[in-house]
Symmetry: C3
Subunit: 273 residues, 3 copies
């Protein structure tokens, strides 16, 4: 039950190590606090192994890659793997530059990733680039819609199976799969796209959820997607005349802060396919 996933985060206060971009990092930290987790940020190669060792999970986001932070990503990821901490990869901008695409693919090859979360075009880039003998069909459309849903679900399931990672594709319709089951989630609002970093925020929160629910990672990842989308709905319902994307940003984080397990059970809009 999603309720349990949420409550486990609030009960265990998972400490999440974030190597993330400097654009949305403050919001990622506040969202982690809002959901009941606790954030630490560190990307210096010489610092990351110590920091990740005191944490429970690792969130790697390549939104503003630097040469130095890339080294930090590998060192932190390997240490987290050693310690059995879940590692999430958010391949921001994979496909938009060779550095981002190649770094994401290298991280996939060298690390054991519990979750990969991105939009459909980032995930397609990774599926194409990591092409194995089996071959992953990444020939899905650039947005998941009701029309191409079956095909998209198949794609996500196959990529999850091939990588051994939970794959979370977020957009108007969100898909979260471990290769066997696929959650199809319809929470959220289109106006969330007018706020920078809702995806980054979700990746931070999802790492906390997966860390706090080790026996139930798939459900926890799906629960985090529902929390974000539902907070987008609740936050929107509190908007007043003259409010815009800056206020909406705050209202979404506020909604995560106030959400109970019951709210989540009641508001989560998903099916399993």
């Amino acid at each position: 039950m999603f309720k349990n996933c949420l409550e486990n985060v609030r009960k265990t206060v998972p400490l999440v190590h974030n190597i993330t971009n400097y654009v949305t990092v403050n919001d990622v930290a506040n969202v982690l606090l809002a959901c009941g987790g606790s954030p630490i940020m560190s990307d210096e190669a010489e610092d990351v192994e110590d920091i990740t060792s005191v944490c429970g999970g690792l969130n790697i986001n390549i939104g503003t890659l630097h040469k130095t932070s890339i080294e930090g990503m590998f060192r932190a990821g390997k240490k987290a793997n050693e310690l059995g901490h879940p590692v999430l990869l958010d391949p921001v901008g994979a496909g938009a530059s060779a550095l981002r695409t190649n770094t994401a693919l290298d991280l996939m090859r060298e690390l054991d990733l519990a979750v990969i979360r991105g939009n459909i075009s980032e995930i397609k880039t990774l599926a194409l680039g990591s092409g194995t003998t089996k071959g992953v069909d990444a020939d899905v459309a650039d947005a998941v819609t009701e029309e191409n849903l079956d095909e998209a679900v198949e794609f996500v399931k196959r990529f999850a199976k091939e990588t051994g990672s939970i794959i979370a594709v977020t957009g108007a319709i969100d898909l979260v799969s471990d290769g066997e089951k696929c959650y199809v989630i319809r929470n959220g609002r289109p106006e969330m796209g007018k706020i920078t970093g809702t995806g980054c925020q979700l990746s931070g929160m999802m790492t906390a959820y997966v860390t706090a629910n080790p026996e139930n990672r798939l459900e926890a990842a799906a629960a985090a997607v529902c929390v974000m989308g539902l907070a987008g709905e609740t936050g929107w319902s509190r908007m007043q005349e003259g409010d815009g994307n800056a206020t909406y940003r705050n209202r979404i984080i506020d909604a995560i802060y106030n959400m109970t397990g019951e709210d989540l059970e009641k508001g989560a809009d998903y099916e399993i396919s």
Copy 2:
């Protein structure tokens, strides 16, 4: 008409590559989304050429310069020039340190800058430092006032002519010139100075405006200045007892988000001299 400039941004959703400081970067991203554009941030030298290639314009802000990001600025700028994308320079702190002054001057020398936007003391620093045989008289006062307005307009016009860039000097009175015409703009409120980064936000938005209005860059740059100032007025009108600079920041971004072409035409307070 400013109305068209605004609507062209909303219609074409210009993707703006920002190499900017880590202090105000989140607000720059949210302002770009609020005005109808779309932001990408990247400063790693190996990443910037790919990123700027998928964008329409480039915003270079030297607010927190690093050795590595300086290289990124030149590589991105040269690529943007090659592609015919407008490049804006925000010389934050030019005059306060040798590194900032010299970097700004080097960028001016090596890049074709569509716009240079700063406060009067930053722009004076550049005018003095780039001194050519013709010589730019930078001996204007440290603030543009009604008293020294004619002199300041002359200075900005001459510097625009000499550099071939649109020069935007912002303060209590804003001046935007291409060397021929000079917009004198009186929108805004003094309390905007109590928010960090309204200048950086404006530079991001101005890049979107100039990108979306290629035939009309001077007017677009002036329109962006009016949008920012008018949003400062609208945002202020929504302040309640107990609100301060944090809430004001949000209300300004909200006002940009909600502004229509009609609002802008009605509220823009400027003359052309």
Copy 3:
């Protein structure tokens, strides 16, 4: 009187050079503006000496250490010391990684620090690590409570005496001492811990307070702690149903922006021991 400390900040508008982490830097800047100071950020080694020279005080925060920013910290600190500017150290995460602990200890050794501000576990780490022949007893509990208050006050006084720095330990109960006197402060609310960076914000503001009150640094540092805590109380009183940590963050900064000397005198909750 705390009132004078606050008013000296508003009157003199101290310019504070911040070398700080990229997580909370925007809030630090807005808090500095809210309290009446003015922020500049710069961490590039080649930039920091020029920048610190035009400022009045220096705030060093090791929250997201990089190799390059470490060099900047030392160069800025030495220049600030030469110029007689107060330097504050916020040893974020000391004890959590060797790099952080060692960097903080090196900064203590090589710089003349006016103030060291951290939580009790960070300060204990420094006290243990900097162990001198006299020996500092860092065997205090991990939180300052009414039960262990006397012991904690003794610890802070001794560490202040030994280092020659004002020591500010913040938590549920805050302690600020110069080795002779110790302010015991009970302003604030536990919900402040659900916002990222209230400690970083306080360090920025405290640097402004100490800079603006050179004859009265201890009182100024204690006043800054009361301002932050009182703003947490005022901000909380303005929270409405559905508000959470994002809105609370804004309300606290707003409260700092609106606080008068009289408000502070009336609301400050402290004793001197």
